[in-house]
Amino acid sequence: MVFAWTMVVIVLAFIACLFEDLESDEGSQSNPNSQVQLAPEMGYIHRYYNKAISGEGLSYALACTIAGTVAWAMLSKGITPVIAIPFGAGIGSLVHMIRATIPHLGRESAHKRFEQPIYLDVLFGHLVPIATHNFMAVVCITAIAYIQSPSGPLAAITGLPVAANNPFPLPLLCFIWGITVGAIGSSTGDIHYGTERLFQDRPFGEGRRVVYHGQICRYADCGIRTSKDVVAFCAKYGGPATGLTFGLIVLFENWRTLIGMMAGGLTGASLNPGVAAGVGIVIGLIIGAVLIVGNLYLVKWARKKFGPFVGE
């Protein structure tokens, strides 16, 4: 039963981070935003959406915490989670959408001397996609937090040791998961967006020299590119890869902990926390070592196949 709920959490984490990455590409949030911000200063007037709310971790912490708080308040009034969680996520996404209007207006009007206009169709056309992608991510994160929270289904499974239930309430879990999903989406997904879309005319793998900064691709396959075109492209590879990263992190982390707890005995006389922690740590070290070796091999193979790169 615990493994089944863990699988649910992993699948939800996969979907959440997939949509989180696509939502951040929707408005060039986080790392690639510095290039979008720099482009008009280099004379490259563009039609991208400039969504510099804050880092992805913090903006998702905001949306998820509001969603979690609203869901918590509704749950405490006896409303069923099937209604409370989507309603809370809807409020969170609404606040996120309001926050997303501020930076596009503010940063583009701060580019006055570089003659960057505010395109109203860019502003209005991106708001609904931002809110909907954000809703998908936030509803999954709120559901994960509800499953794990003291009032959730995981805590109701009998026979588990007390240590398996965490003491964190729903809003705090949403906050932690929101920061985490934003951090993974920022570190993994942005690379695909930044190199493959903003700098698609530069050779792969050489890094971005300072002379290229701000010189982003502004034309799409047909016409002028907006951030919506980027999402359609990133949905094929960057988003799923980011979701897979987050899903695998949650999978490996929970799997090793659960195996350790099984080995250490769950309750009664067989309960041995030392064995549980030890087995979990050893399995974690093995997983880490396998991942490091695999990644080194992958990088070597890729460099041999696609290199040598300019400047190497």
Partner: protein
């Protein structure tokens, strides 16, 4: 009480795009006076505390702008989170110390809470010295010491005021079960942090203007009042919550529309749609 109401109404009267916020020193003085009055008098109604919270967050946003203006760029959100990190430490310290009956805890005026605010101000000042001094990190950012002290104090005041907005008091016997164990402290953290970090992060650029940036902070303060008002009406009842929601809604509508109009007026041009300028 006079100060914060004056500062609250001053921008609303003019309403146009050129709001005259007080300069950095005056804004700090107004916000400190308002924040101190509101935090040592927990008997005040929630919407008065809401005005205090808006002013304190505005001060924090101004400090973030002051600190981050010297080329921090992507570090702007980190400064806001740092402020609220100080704020949680200082606020909880102040709440616990202020609840001691010997320091006025439980009375009408409860000045003990200011110990935490002052302590975190000193810690912030020391960390500013450590960051700026060449013997240690040597960042040499002008005014960093003052900025860090202000950020810590604004964060601590924001935590204290927002806690007492939700729970009706910041007494530790109430705040620990109602705010901290419920996890609402995470909401307080992120709402106040956004009021401080988002304005400058969202408006920075070559033609950034202080008056326009600070409008965003007041707007976020209004949004915070709406969300906190819903929670206050759950915990304290409608009489406290509904005026707070009304204050938040009015502030949000006024300042959001003022900000949007200011941006549209001050941009290079506003077009419905259009092609981009071809390369030079």
């Amino acid at each position: 009480m006079g100060e914060e109401e004056k500062a609250e109404e001053k921008p609303e009267e003019k309403e146009k795009f050129t709001l005259h916020f007080p300069n950095e020193n005056n804004l700090a003085i107004i916000a400190v006076i308002a924040g101190v009055i509101v935090s040592i008098l927990p008997v005040l109604p929630a919407f008065v505390k809401g005005i205090g919270a808006i002013l304190v967050i505005l001060w924090g946003a101004d400090s973030v702008r002051k600190t981050a203006r010297y080329g921090l760029g992507t570090g702007v959100p980190s400064i806001g989170v740092l402020a609220m990190g100080y704020g949680i430490v200082g606020g909880v310290t102040g709440i616990v110390i202020g609840s001691v009956p010997a320091l006025g805890g439980g009375g009408i005026v409860e000045p003990g809470v200011l110990v935490g605010v002052a302590a975190v101000g000193v810690v912030g000042y020391i960390s500013g010295i450590l960051a700026n001094n060449e013997k240690f990190i040597g960042m040499k950012i002008p005014g960093l010491e003052r900025g860090m002290a202000e950020l810590g104090m604004a964060g601590a005041l924001a935590v204290i005021i927002e806690s007492s907005m939700i729970a009706g008091t910041w007494n530790a016997a109430v705040v620990i079960p109602e705010i901290i164990e419920n996890g609402l402290i995470a909401l307080i953290f992120i709402l106040a942090a956004f009021g401080m970090l988002q304005p400058y992060n969202s408006c920075l650029g070559a033609d950034e203007r202080r008056g326009r940036t600070l409008l965003v902070s007041v707007e976020i303060g209004g949004l915070n009042c709406i969300i906190l008002g819903v929670l206050a009406s759950l915990i304290q009842g409608m009489a406290q919550g509904v005026p707070l929601i009304a204050l938040g809604a009015i502030t949000w509508v006024l300042f959001y529309s003022a900000y949007v109009r200011a941006c549209l007026n001050e941009a290079h041009s506003v077009v419905g749609t259009g092609l981009i300028k071809t390369m030079r």
